[in-house]
Amino acid sequence: MEPLQSQTAVLRDLHRALVRRRFAQIEPKLRLELAALGLLIGAFLFWHTRVSFDGLARSHGPLAVLEAAAGLCALLAALGGALAGARHAARLHDPPGPPWLALPLPPAWLARHLAWESRAFALGAIAAAPGILFAAVGLVPLWWLGLLAAAFVWMVLAGGRIGCAVAAFVMARRAPPGPGLHPLVRTLATASHPVRGAPRRGVRWRTRPAWLALCEKDLLLSLRPTSARRRLVTPLLLGLLSLWCWALPAPPALALTEAEVRALEHVSAFALALVAAATLGEWLIALSGEDPFMVLRGLPLGVGVIWGSRALWAMAFAAALVLAHAASARPLAPEARLVFLVWTGGAALAIALLGANYGVTLFPRAEIAQRLYALSLGLAVAGSLMIPLMGWIVLLAGLIHSALRLPGWTRLEEPA
């Protein structure tokens, strides 16, 4: 066994190489787009917190501003920690890299490395902090902010460590007992299992257009234990919840008027329908992630057929939402119902199509597509909150931009 110092150096070198390589894999254009998105999120946070901080400074003094900023930073760090933990649990299920247990590595070393990989997700929280810190500039002494920034970085790192530790603990608890074995070894030993499932009988060899064959394959994969199946449950549940909004009784304690109840139903049904569409977009991206690059690129399929098969799901979902809401939104006046249906259908379609576009144009990098999709939708929500209809403009801009990238599909490559 190598001395600890040497193992630490090996780990450090590996991490440096991985960071360098992963950064190099992001295209320069995508780097600029990500930076612009980060800047816009920061600007949004600045926009929203500056006014509140200013009010706090006037009414309660600079200490109250510091407390509020520290509270927001702690919230961000906790969010980052939770993200890292969730990511770590998923990674322990199927850790990337070599067959780790076959290597002569101490489990503690391996645990540190895998946690490092997952903690990178917590660092995303750092991108959001400058907006909050800049919002406090001029309201509190600068050196306070310097200290807060340092404390925030520490909080993010600690949050990531705690999140990963909790995930490792939970995964180890789930693993079968193995006396004398390190918890990580037990977790990894049970993580890599062959694909589950019973034999598939009754295969139908039928003539059908390529787009239909693709849709059928997507459906099959969504019924089998894949990441696509996990992603499909959420939009279906949220879609049903959005319908349920129309039937929910108003809490008597609130003593709402009839008009207020209608407005509450209207807003909650609309919001849940859009969130359902957003999660459907995530499912469409997950489907792209299920497509093996060599299989899809080796087939005589143009981007039109591939995009069309995914867009069809988006259209079917939007149409189903509209039809179901048309039947459920009876409390609304006919004109109001029509407006609601048009807006809900249009927004749901645009949101889900954005997911389809990212899934196809960033194929086979489904993880990057998921992140960009979340960022774009976050930006659209932020835009909506800042200026009425701004969210639509952001959404449509994202849709057009991603659609313009579709012709480049033929030149996409598998990441090295």
């Binding site: 003539t207 060599m294 490559e413």
Partner: protein, 242 residues
């Protein structure tokens, strides 16, 4: 036939293919030899349309792969070195999907798949999810997927690696039959013996360039097939030599 002209491909500073030109005629099986990193897989991946070249053209059955990719790929079969599948689908579901996308007649595609399953020893496993398959079984399925539609051009990257003796002999017979029907086969392998037995010509790739081209007469008569050792194995395994 297949024609590659002036194909160049870089990975950053590494020049993986340097102005490679070669032709594989209809009915011809051409072996592709080269050391690790010589550019064999890069050549096959680029010729299969998985990655664009920096320059040069690939014609599959007379169709420019990068101008009319869909039409060109209708005529192509490609066996990658490390095949990937939809692991949750069964072998038969996967082939039925490929057959539909390629527009094959369902009845004949099914019969052909059943025949290839039998010849390569996959009968009884075709309803299992592919994710359960061993490496050799995955390679066999990849072979079947590539030849199911009897393509006019077939690119093989270490196609027989991982095959057992009986399946390897059957697969070579299938390749010869395809070539007999006019298919142009480019067959990359590290096993010179396989190339000697199977190929009409061979091309040696070195540092991304075609270093030498040889004809069958250049390497003389290959070992008889099956060899005595293969015969011994087949007698114990209970399979008949094809």
């Amino acid at each position: 036939m297949m024609s590659v002209a002036g194909l160049t491909r870089r990975y950053g500073r590494l020049l993986a293919l340097d102005e490679v030109s070669l032709e594989v005629g209809s009915g011809e099986v051409v072996g592709l030899l080269g050391a690790n990193g010589a550019g064999k897989s890069t050549l096959l991946r680029t010729a299969a349309g998985l990655q664009p070249p920096d320059s040069g053209t690939v014609l599959l059955d007379g169709i420019d792969l990068w101008r009319d990719a869909v039409e060109a790929k209708r005529r192509l079969g490609y066996i990658p070195e490390e095949p990937t599948f939809y692991d949750e689908l069964s072998a038969e579901e996967y082939l039925a999907f490929l057959a539909a996308v390629r527009g094959l007649e369902p009845g004949s595609a099914r019969r052909r798949a059943a025949e290839l399953f039998a010849r390569l020893g996959l009968v009884g496993r075709t309803d299992e999810p592919v994710g359960r398959f061993s490496h050799g079984m995955r390679k066999k399925l990849s072979f079947i997927a590539a030849v199911l539609h009897r393509p006019p051009v077939l690119l093989c990257d270490e196609a027989l690696e991982g095959f057992d003796v009986a399946a390897s002999l059957s697969a070579k017979d299938e390749l010869r039959a395809l070539a007999g029907g006019g298919c142009a086969v480019l067959f990359s392998s590290h096993v010179t013996e396989t190339i000697e037995r199977l190929c009409d010509r061979a091309v040696i790739l070195h540092r991304g360039r075609v270093a030498r081209a040889l004809r069958r007469s250049d390497w003389g008569a290959p070992q008889p097939e099956p060899s005595p050792l293969e015969r011994a194995f087949l007698s114990i395994a209970g399979a008949e030599a094809p």
